[in-house]
């Protein structure tokens, strides 16, 4: 174990070292060196993480938790100490492997993708910081450390989305991402404060082993006095809002598609392993805590399923390849969320927990990370090849880029949930979990979304790789090694990940903290679900083929959104949510709140400053008047003064 502890430090230190060296010691001209250094450091971190995870699962501690090291960091009170540490349990071990592996692939890819950029060193430095903060986030043994690195993940994504800071769109997208997630984080912070106030601990162990029966009394929160159980319920909602914003669930979703303004490797890592996954991860990490409150779980489920359907519908009409993938991520995150929420089951009037939803959700994080990362890298390759994000400019690329073509096919099949690709297994479990929980509406919507997913992914696939070449750059398109290798590397887990790890996830992801009586065992026969899901996905693929893939499909007309009906336009403009946000910000924040602040600034604070300046100036003028500069006046005052002093003062006679 001692050796493991020593090794575990390196998982964090290596990316951090990459950040420091690239950020401080390398010049912008050392592009090659920066790239290879980051790749080497992250590769080593990935190897250590895999070794660590392997040892953990072999050690026999496996479903339980293990603290490799822990140190006191800040002590607020003798009973409330925030510590930093490394917690190893199935969830964090899985996340460590996924994050380091994906970060490694993205770093390799960035060498090729960012070759012509003038500040590659800065890019690698930020990317390493991003990896470091996400790694530290997932192993946090307490809420305090989680929040700390949660914000660091936020700031590094801000830096990376706004990496091309000469582009106004990138700057505003990065600000939007940062402000929206900060808005959610403020609730998260409130939740942390409330929880630590009631329980007196930041530790996940204390939160997850909580039983409501030991919190019976009332608590005074300054303004109101409520029962502790109710206060904890409020806290659980507040903490969930943090994950809500971070995972870009509706209605805080708009920052994620707009974050596409950043470089593609950044989108790739944000969407697969870091940032947005942090929200789902938080809910999964605190799952036993959330499961105490079935209302919170219902909220999670409703938010999740709504986002899943909503985003999938929008994705069907978009033309920007990265935006399609962004909405697809939203939809898949919705899947993970509602899977967590659908664990709440009512049997014979008693609330119980169906742990299948939990393991399915975590499994989906795992499979989704690989294929989504790969799809984004592919999108980056295509953009690099045709110099445009637009599907209008692509088409017929299959012949030019055979490796990419094959990888895309694997990715699309995986995300659509076609057996035996990885997405099938996780999606299937999610569907089964909702059905077992008797959430029939959610099940129906999820099945529908699954069909939509297959449709829009194959729409993308056919438009980009089949048909005529519409790009003016078509003649000199070729695949480069550093950009194709990571894609192929990720294609393997996208293909086999589900089948190989299915057993692992089912066995290890039962949260052992739950009291046994609350665990639910299914009574419904669900053998038909996999067939139904595959069938729906196939129907989606056929639809995509008919509209965009078959030789006689009128692709030009299909891509032209101007002559479509009103409904299509609504969807194409993302239900005008960006506009609603802008209007809201303009009307209420700029004109309302900001105007008030401006008024206060100008007239109250500025008035006070100007007033004091005025008084001092007037007093100065008064004194200045007396300094006339006439010598006789000075002499006269001298004489008068002396006389006054002589006769009125107490001058010794």
């Amino acid at each position: 174990m001692n050796k493991l502890t020593t090794l575990s430090y390196f998982i964090f230190l290596l990316p951090f070292l990459g950040f420091i060296i690239n950020g401080l010691f390398l010049k912008q001209s050392h592009k090659k060196l920066a790239g290879f250094l980051s790749v080497a450091l992250n590769g080593a971190a990935a190897l250590i993480a895999i070794y660590l995870a392997f040892n953990y699962f072999q050690s026999g501690v496996a479903p339980g938790r293990m603290i490799l090291w822990q140190k006191d960091f800040l002590s607020f009170a003798p009973s409330l100490i925030a510590s930093v540490g490394l917690l190893l349990d199935p969830l964090s071990a899985m996340m460590l492997v996924v994050i380091t592996f994906i970060s490694f692939a993205v770093h390799i890819y960035s060498i090729g993708y960012m070759k012509e950029d003038r500040s590659t060193t800065r890019f690698f430095s930020f990317l390493s910081l991003f990896t470091f903060s996400m790694l530290s986030l997932v192993v946090a043994p307490n809420l305090f450390q989680t929040f700390f690195f949660w914000e660091l993940v936020g700031i590094s994504s801000y830096l990376l989305i706004g990496f091309w800071y000469e582009k106004p769109a990138a700057v505003s997208a990065s600000k939007q991402a940062f402000i929206l997630t900060r808005f959610a984080d403020s609730f998260f912070l409130l939740g942390i404060i409330l929880v630590s106030f009631i329980i007196g601990s930041f530790d996940f162990y204390d939160l997850n082993t909580l039983s409501l029966s030991s919190f019976l009394g009332e608590i005074n929160l300054g303004i109101i006095t409520i029962t502790k159980a109710k206060a904890l319920f409020v806290a659980s909602i507040l903490v969930f809002i943090g994950g809500w914003g971070k995972s870009a669930m509706f209605p805080m979703h708009i920052w994620l598609p707009n974050a596409m303004e950043g470089p593609t490797p950044v989108s790739s890592i944000i969407h697969s392993a870091t940032m947005v996954v942090a929200g789902v991860y938080l809910v999964a990490r605190l799952f036993p805590f959330f499961s105490l409150f079935s209302d919170t779980l219902h909220l999670i489920m409703v938010v999740g399923i709504f986002t899943a359907v909503f985003a999938a519908v929008i994705a069907c009409t978009q033309k920007d390849i990265k935006r399609i993938l962004a909405y697809s991520t939203l939809s898949q995150l919705g899947y993970m969320m509602f899977a967590l929420g659908s664990t709440s089951v009512i049997i014979e009037g008693q609330a119980a927990i169906n742990t299948l939803g939990y393991s399915a959700s975590v499994f989906h994080i795992f499979t989704h990370a690989f294929f989504k990362c790969m799809l984004f890298l592919i999108a980056g390759s295509l953009i690099h090849a045709v110099h445009s994000n637009d599907l209008d400019q692509m088409g017929g690329l299959g012949r030019k880029m055979p490796w990419t073509y094959a990888a895309t096919l694997i990715g699309c099949l995986a995300i659509s949930g076609i057996p035996p690709f990885s997405g099938f297994f996780s999606k299937d479990e999610i569907l089964i979990a909702t059905l077992e929980g008797k959430h029939f509406i959610v099940f129906g919507l999820a099945l529908f979304t699954s069909g939509l997913t297959a449709f829009y992914m194959f729409r993308l696939f056919f438009l980009a790789f089949h048909g005529n070449m519409r790009s003016p750059h078509a003649s000199h398109i070729k695949e480069s090694f550093s950009m194709t290798f990571p894609i192929v590397m990720l294609a393997i887990p996208s293909f086999l990940g589900g089948y190989l790890f299915k057993k692992v996830f089912l066995k290890f992801y039962l949260p052992g903290y739950l009291p046994a009586s609350d665990i639910f065992s299914s009574s419904i026969s669900v053998h038909w679900v996999p067939f139904a899901a595959s069938l729906v996905a196939l129907i989606g693929i056929v639809f995509a083929w008919v509209s965009y893939g078959r030789p006689y499909a009128n692709v030009k007309k299909a891509l032209d959104e101007t002559n479509r009906n009103q409904f299509y336009k609504w969807i194409y403009h993302k239900f005008y949510f960006d506009e609603i946000y802008y209007a809201f910000v303009r009307q209420f924040i700029f004109r309302g709140f900001s105007a008030f602040v401006r008024f206060f600034e100008d007239y109250v604070i500025g008035g006070a400053v100007k007033g004091s300046v005025f008084i001092i100036k007037k007093a100065g003028e008064l004194v200045r008047e007396s300094q006339s500069g006439f010598t006789p006046f000075y002499l006269g005052t001298l004489v008068v003064g002396l006389l006054l002093w002589r006769f009125l003062g107490n001058l010794p006679v």
């Binding site: 300094q627 006339s628 500069g629 006439f630 010598t631 006789p632 002499l635 006269g636 004489v639």
Partner: protein, 101 residues
């Protein structure tokens, strides 16, 4: 010749000096006024030395000191006046206000 008469004379001289100092605008005239005031003070010394001191030479010695110091002072003052005149071609104190602004 009584003590009072002598003191009155020196008082009148001092008053003339003050009046001249305050009213005249010419620098040289002001210097003369200062000189008059000093002489008024000298008068006082001599008066008290003559009428009330046991050894009247002590008061006279003081007078000599004052006259010597005044001579030095006047030399410096006149030097300033001369250089001022060379520079500004005027000795009107109301115009010598460049330190005011």
């Amino acid at each position: 010749m009584t003590l009072l008469n002598c003191l009155l004379l020196s008082f009148i001289l001092f008053g003339i000096g003050i009046f001249g100092l305050l009213r005249r605008r010419h620098l040289v005239a002001m210097l003369i006024s200062i000189e008059i005031m000093l002489n008024a003070a000298n008068m006082n010394f001599i008066t008290f030395a003559y009428f009330s001191a046991e050894d009247s030479s002590a008061g006279a010695v003081f007078n000599l000191f004052v006259i010597a110091v005044t001579a030095c002072e006047m030399a410096i003052a006149l030097a300033i006046v001369v250089s001022m005149y060379r520079r500004r071609h005027s000795l009107d104190v109301n115009e010598l206000r460049s330190l005011h602004e």
